[in-house]
Structures are given as C-alpha cells and as structure tokens.
C-alpha cells in the first residue's frame, strides 16, 4: 500500500519484478456470496419445515405381549400401507402390558380416533381361514382399523386378535343375547338363507354374568334383512337335543359344523317391520324351531311349586295343555318354606296366553284373539280344576314336562296373584302319585309283625318238615307195597286190553261189508222185508175183508 522509498530492503525493489496487468472487467458484487448461505438457509428451513410438517403424532398402544414387535422395525399399516413405525417397546409400570410407542405419519393423523383399533398381525390359522402368511418372512406388523368417532386420541389398547370386520366395511352391528355361547366364537359366520352375510365380532359375558352378549356384523346389503322382529338362532354344527319330545339331530352347513354359526330370518308376518337400527339387541335362540315358535307377543311368567322331585325336568321343558304347548320352563329352584320347613321345588314357567284362543261368544264381538284377559282366563280354568302337574314325557329318557290339565276332584285352589310371579296351583304328578302309593305299601309292609311272622313261619316250616318226612315214609311204603301190586294190575289190564283188542278185531272182521255176518244179515233183512210186505198185504186185506178171518180168503171175486 505505502510504496515508500524509506523501505529498509531496497534490494527487493528491482526492475526484475514485473508490474501487474490492469484489466478493467466488470466486477460482481461481493455481496453475491451471501446468496449461498441464504439458499442453504432456505433449503435447511424447508427441510426442517417439511420434516416438522411430516412429523405426525406419537401414539402409544398397549398390548398383552410384545411378541413380534421390534422397536424401529415394526410398521403400522392401514390397508397394508405403512403409516407409522414403532419407535420403542416398553413394559408398563404395572407390568401388566407392553407399551408400544409409534410415530404416525402426518397425513394419517386423522385416523387416530377414539375407536380406532390396533392389533398385531401375525401368521394365524383359525377354523375358517389362514391369514398373515406374509408376516412369516417380513415380520409382524401392527394392523389398524380406523374408527368413526369424532374424538381424537393418542393412546390405545391393542386387540389381541385381528377384528373379523373392519369398521369401514358397510353394514350394521347388532347385539345378540344368548343363554349359552355354544360353539360360537369370534369370526363365526352368520347365515341368511344359508348364505354367509356376516360374522360374529366378539363374545362376552354381560355384567351380571347371566347372559352371553354376541356382537355380530351383518354386511351390507344384507343388513336390510334384519328387521325389528327378526329372529336369530344358533346354526351351530351338529345339534343334538334330548327332551320330552325325544332325541333330535340337526345339522347346518359344513362350515358351521366346524365353526358354529348363527342364522336369522324374519317371520313372514313381520316383513313389514322397520329395518333394525344398528346396535339393536336381539335374542339368540338355541334352535330354529325354538326361535320360530316364540312368536308370541304376550309372555307371562308364572310360578309353580312342587313338593316332589323334579328330576328329569329341564329348563325349556314344555308346558302342555292337553297336548298343546302353551309355555315352557324357565327356571327350576329349590325353596325352603320357612313355615313348614320343607323344601319345595319352585318352577318358573313362561306362559303364552295367546295360544289359548277363546271362542267369541255369540252376540259379543271380541276383536282380539285372547278375548278375555289371561287373568280371567286362568282364574276360570283353575276354578274348573285346572292344575299343573309333573308328567313323564319320555319313559326311556325320563324327561318330564309340566301338564296343565283338568282335575275335577282336586281340592279347590286359587291363583296366588300376589306372589311374584303369580303362583299357579299344582297337583302331585303321576310319578309322585306312584311314588306315594309305593310309599304307602312300604309303610304297610313296615307295619307288619315281621318278627312274629318269622317265628310262625319257622314253626310252620318245621311242622311242614315233619309232615314232609312222614309223607316221604308213606311214599316209601307205597313204593314197597303198592307198586308191585300195581304192576300186576297193569299187566292184567294190558292182557284184558289185548283180548279186547282181539275181540274188536273179530268184530271188525265180522262187520266188514263182505263179511259172512253182513251177508247173512242182509239176507235176513231182505226176508224180513218181504215178510213185512206180506204182513202189510194181509193187514190191508183183513181191513177190507174182515170176514176172511172166519171164512178164509175168497178167491178173487172181482
């Protein structure tokens, strides 16, 4: 810069050092260099912004076990498209479950609803299907089913098994109440006219454990066949039933034999019923016949108290009115009557009064078929001697049923309407009667003076023994004395018979047609005939000519 002559080293300044060439060129602005960090900043910021925007929510899912889940490897897939990745797998603080933390893609944020479900997809072989084979090579992944709730959520409880039906599938869910789950399980098919239209989603007990609740899914468009009065029944496998009607075997399709199943149908007269809304509760009957039988809209509960054994009576046994099933047994319990300190068997029945139709009286028009109320009906029936009785329906199996029948001789009784449910009067059953009379016999037998009888009998036997001994002696005597005599007698008799035989032979000879006796006899008879004719002639002649007796026969004067 300061090119001054006071430089201490003038040797450097020589003519040998050339001057720099000055070329005027247009110069770029030195500020341009700042474009580079600016661009870098823009790129960096955009990358950060993109990752930040792409960074979706973090969710936690709890599973019972972490089988097949690996941090950083296991994916979360929806419709087989990856939407997330497991970040970590930890054990919950209470050690009851495994907590899976996962990153979800930003655009899948909307899938995280309160009812979104997650499950681990593993190779799985069930009765009806084999699934998840792809996971054998690629490892397990977490499947997902997006819910429809409006509520968002970030922590979920994972399912242990994949759901049978995903939520986005069109159709409707219903709830079935059953006494018994039978062979049904999650995934069991639902048939409508033998066509598979749905599946069982879950099987669980209700709160008090009395019923089994089955969540079922009917696929669209078949769900419109489910109406408010649709009947569902077990179409499970092979149905053996043993009741008062005898022994029955029912089978459905092969799949349902393996898997169990449910069938449904709407009765013809209920076809106009409105379509059932989703989530509606239905009864699940055990058989089709049972389901179709229960079309009665009026169901009344009554209570019967028996003081005899109800062995052979089962829940579901029919209540029979002269061969017509008018109800069924719903519950059988033993009750201790505090007053008499006796255990009575309380049987609850379901009664369908509609099945007894009252005939409309002349002049009176009754619009409804039951006509009079069932209370009046039953009161009247009881007044006329209707009682409930236990009867044996099937002697082979010992099944019993309840018969309502007329017992005009029964002691007067009334229905106890105050108890809940109302109590119908009962009479002792046929088996009971039989048992009672048997008991009476036994009692009488017990009252017999068996001891004395035994002594007497022994005495009698002793004397009988003596008698028999003397009889024996007598027989020996007879044998010794009488038998030879008898033999002789027999020999003589045989001789006599022989001679008689011979005589008879002679007689037969004599009596033969061509025998001499016969010939002689015939001649004699002929002579005798002639003699008789002559005698008749003589008689006739004498009648006409009595004088001939005196004068003798006149020569033919005529």
């Amino acid at each position: 810069m300061n090119d001054t002559p006071q430089n201490p080293e003038p040797a450097v300044e020589g003519a040998a050092i050339p001057n720099a060439v000055i070329e005027r060129r247009k110069r770029r602005s030195s500020q341009l260099i700042w474009l580079i960090p600016t661009i870098a900043l823009i790129i960096g910021l955009s990358l950060i912004a993109r990752t930040w925007m792409e960074k979706g929510p973090v969710i936690t899912i709890s599973f019972k076990s972490g089988d097949g889940i690996e941090a950083g490897k296991t994916k979360i897939k929806y419709k087989d498209v990856q939407i997330g990745l497991v970040r970590s797998v930890t054990i919950a603080k209470d050690r009851s479950s495994v907590l899976v933390t996962a990153d979800i893609a930003k655009d899948a944020e909307g899938f995280l609803k309160a009812d979104t479900r997650f499950w681990v997809v593993r190779p799985r072989i069930s009765g009806s299907s084999i699934s998840g084979l792809g996971t054998l090579t690629a490892g397990s992944y977490i499947g997902m089913d997006v819910g429809s709730s409006s509520e968002d959520r970030n922590s979920f409880v994972g399912l242990e098994a994949p759901p049978a039906v995903t939520l986005d599938e069109a159709g409707r869910q219903f709830v079935l109440h059953a006494d018994d789950v039978g062979s049904l399980s999650t995934g069991s098919p639902i048939f409508y006219r033998h066509l598979q239209v749905g599946e069982v989603l879950s099987v669980e007990l209700d709160k008090d454990g009395e019923n089994v609740l089955l969540r079922v899914f009917i696929r669209s468009p078949y769900d419109r066949f489910v109406r408010n009065r649709t009947l569902f029944w077990h179409a499970s496998g092979i149905d053996f039933s043993l009741n008062a009607d005898g022994f029955k075997v029912n089978t459905e399709s092969l799949l349902s034999i393996m898997m169990g199943g449910i069938a449904f149908q709407t009765p013809e007269d209920a076809d106009d019923a409105p379509q059932a809304e989703a989530g509606r509760h239905f009864m699940l009957f055990s058989t089709k016949t049972e389901a179709l039988r229960r079309l009665d809209s009026i169901v009344e509960n009554y209570r019967l108290v028996f003081r005899e054994s109800v062995r052979g009576l089962t829940v579901g046994a029919p209540v029979d009115l002269r061969g017509l099933t008018v109800g069924e047994v719903t519950r059988i319990t033993g009750e201790l009557d505090p007053a008499t300190r006796q255990v009575a068997m309380a049987v609850n029945i379901r009664f369908y009064p509609e099945r007894i139709k009252t005939r409309p009286r002349a002049g009176k028009t009754t619009p409804s078929s039951p006509g009079i109320g069932s209370r009046e009906l039953l009161d009247g029936m009881v007044k006329q001697g209707v009682r409930a009785q236990l009867r044996s329906g099937n002697l082979l199996t010992g099944q019993q049923f309840i018969a309502l029948d007329y017992f005009p001789d029964a002691a007067p009784a009334r229905i106890n309407w105050r108890s809940l449910p109302p109590e119908l009067p009962t009479v002792i059953g046929m088996m009971g009667q039989f048992q009672q009379s048997l008991m009476k016999i036994v009692l009488k037998l017990e009252q017999l003076p068996l001891q004395e009888l035994t002594t007497d009998t022994r005495k009698a036997v002793q004397s009988l023994d003596a008698t028999l001994q003397s009889a024996d002696k007598l027989l020996q005597n007879l044998d010794a004395n009488l038998v030879p005599e008898t033999r002789k007698l027999f020999e003589e008799a045989r001789n006599a018979l022989d001679s008689a035989n011979r005589t008879l032979g002679t007689v037969r000879q004599a009596m033969a047609t061509d025998g001499p006796l016969q010939l002689d006899l015939r001649d004699t008879l002929r002579e005798l005939g002639r003699a008789a004719a002559a005698l008749r002639q003589l008689g006739t002649y004498l009648e006409q000519h009595p004088e001939a007796l005196l004068k003798g026969k006149q020569e033919d004067r005529r």
Binding site: M1, N2, D3, I17, A20, S30, I36, I43
Partner: protein, 211 residues
Amino acid sequence: MGWPGVSAASRGLCSCLVCGLVSRLDDDRRDAHCPRCGARLHFRRPDSLQRCWALVIASYILYLPANLMTMMETGTLISYRTDTIMSGVIHLWENDNQGIAVIVFVASILVPLFKLLVLTLLLISVRRGSTWKIRTRVQLYRVVELVGRWSMLDIFVMTILAALVQIQSMATVKAGPAAVAFGAVVVLTMFAAQVFDPRLMWDPVRKEKPL
C-alpha cells in the same frame, strides 16, 4: 513474538496464487492480473472474511439436516431400514464392525464439525485481530485444507452402493436427502477453507509490532 522481515504488501508486491510470480502492484486494485498467467492478483483476497463467513454459515445450516435426516435407505427382502449417519455408525458398531464405525464416525461427523469449528475460530480471531497462538491456528488451517476432501468418504460409499446394489425387490440402496446436505457441507467447507486467506492471520502481528 519476534518477526523477521516486512510484508510484501507493504512494499507493493503481490504474489500470484496460481503461478507464484511476484509482481508489483501499485495499489490494491481489484482488476489487477498476473502478468504471466493472467490470474487475478490481490494483496489479500477481497472479501475473504465475508465470503468465508457466508460459506461457513451455509455449512452450519446444512450440517443439521445432514446429520438428522436419512442418509441411506437399505431395503432387502426381509427388512427395510433407513439410516442417518449416526444410526449407521451405531449399527456398524453393534454389528462388530467397530473399526469401520470409528472411520465413518470420524470422517462423517467429527471431521466436518472440526472443519466448521476451526474455520469459525479462525474467522473470529482474524476479525478481532487476535494474535493468540497464531502458529497453532495456522497449523489448524493447514489441517483443515488437507483433510477437507476426505470427508466425502460417506458420499463415496453411498454413491458406490447406490449404483451397485439395485436388485429391485431383493435389495436396494438409496441415498436419502441427508446425502445431498452432507455433500453440500463438505463442498462448502472446502470452499470456505479456500476462500479464507491465511495471510490475514499475520496482519495483526505486523500491526502489533510495526516495523
């Protein structure tokens, strides 16, 4: 700190950075050229600090995505993984390739960071006119210049793998967005080291001890 001689600039002399010819330059004009090779002549690189700062800042900015984002995507029939540089190092270490892990870690993480920090240190010290440990700083600068290109190791590996391993569904290797950022960091730091004029480091010494 004793110092022999005076600066060439103070005598109006300037050496060509390309061919090494010393020529006389009356004043620090921006349009001076080497009379032998025609390269531009400066007493000191114009805007050296400014440009270096710009490049270093840009490198800092890109260093973050280079390390945080996916460097390499490897997919095989049974697995699929995405690696950042650090996760790749950890993966190598866990798979008993400690040696390679150390090399990758040093070449891809430590060295770029070291370069950036050294350049920053140099820039700050020059800006402040510091003479503190000037020899060490000059050594550092030489190391930075020397080692710069070796940081591309990761990029080389990536490039080779991505080119070789493409068996469609069986196995694929793809470079992620971090590869670009990382490459940019390496290149920018190299430029920054080049743009930085080490002669500037000595100017404060002369000012401290005016001859």
